[in-house]
């Protein structure tokens, strides 16, 4: 798991584990859970955006050239994008 900024000991945890900094969940890089990563073949991609729509993490974004890519800080490798991709442009490959 990614090392997060946070309390070291139980004494330093806030009462009830209240988080006083809004939006801090984005610092939690859940991409470290990933066993497989999606790899786009842009020669097959038709830029339809179905991967972007179906990604349950919301971590797929469209680049300026119209193709798509996932933010690996948050992609858990679930493979839904690859499963939904009509032209089969996404392949799930094992993480090293």
């Amino acid at each position: 798991m990614t090392k997060k900024k946070g309390p070291d000991t139980w004494q330093e945890i806030t009462t009830g584990c209240v988080v006083f900094q809004p939006g801090s969940a984005s610092e939690y890089h859940t991409g470290s859970w990933r066993a497989q990563r999606p790899v786009w073949n842009n020669q097959k991609c038709i830029k339809c955006g179905i991967c972007y729509i179906f990604c349950p993490e919301g971590c797929i974004q469209q680049s300026e050239d119209g193709f798509f890519q996932a933010n690996m800080d948050y992609c858990k490798g679930c493979g839904i994008c690859a499963h939904e991709c009509w032209p089969r442009a996404i392949a799930m490959t094992e993480e090293g």
Binding site: I13, T15, G16, C17, V18
Partner: protein, 392 residues
Amino acid sequence: MAKRAGMEVAMAVAEAVGQCNIDMAAVYPITPQSHIAEHLSELIADGKVDAEFVTVESEHSAMSAVIGASGTGARVYTATSSQGLMLMHELLPIASAMRLPIVMGIANRAVSGPLNILNDHSDIMPQRDSGWISIFVENGQEAIDLSIQAFKIAEHKDVLLPVCINIDGFQLTHMVEPVEFPEQELVDKFLPPREPYATLHPGKPVTMGAFAMSDYYPEMMKAKNEAIKNSKKTILAVWEEWAKIFGRAYKPVETYKAEGAEILLLTMGSMGETAEVAIDELRAQGKSVGLVKLRLWRPFPFEELKEAVKEAKKLIVIDRAVSFGGPGGPVFSEIKSALYHEEARPMICNYIIGLGGRDVAVTDFTGMITRVLREDSKKIADTCEFWGVRER
């Protein structure tokens, strides 16, 4: 002037909660708690108590609603019983982990099955490890006093934990008893408005109930355990303050003619008063017997219990619930475990009694004590028996 009344205890609890300047209550009615729900909603509907009464469709929702409301900084109350408490079970450790002050009255009732509406302690015992402060009352006056004190304990900055007050269903909730309501002015002074540690407010966003995996979960559990253990100091201080203002003293472990007694009986809840009569009868016959009443269930009062039983030769622990296939009743196993390392400890035996509302009479207690007096220690040591159950 304090108001004296003859009132049904459940209604008196609602009156007492109404004296506590609550902001919100979410209560789903269930026998034998219903009169708390009915009377509190009446007090609010009639404008006598300025609070929101949230009508919910289940106890799961009642507990969820008070958790949310407590998160906003409100002073909140709920009450339940038996199956209702079982339905709340999922949320109880969440309330304590989030360190939200909530006060809950529990009209203790047997859990199904078979379906039964009468009293025993089988509803609260499965909630033992949920991180709630758990206190037992013996009569109507204690139900009033503890219900008010509970807010002060729960909301104290050194505690911040939910508190449940166990009130034996029917045996207490449906009895009309002479009670005294403390003067409102004194209650207001005793119980100032809540000062929340953090609140859910869009102006200053915070996250409550955040996600934590193996990297933080154990530290959170340790923090929660330390919090409830540490709460005993505040509970004692609150009881001391209460005694000074209102003249009624409370202790984690109450004793009755226990000093120097060879045989001690240990009870929880409304059985205590019946047991006192049994002790009086046996004392009149010259028997060296006494009574210990466990008021504070969580945090468990180790020091006070050890002190109370240190001189006894035999200790009879009464349970009003069963730990099926376990080491006797739940109170018995806790007491045994608490005394394990003591060099001088009494022989201890366990009687399970009063299940599903079966009457607990003075003769039951005198019968147990007489038997324990007669038998030699080896024979009854560590035994657990369903007292008075019909057998072939």
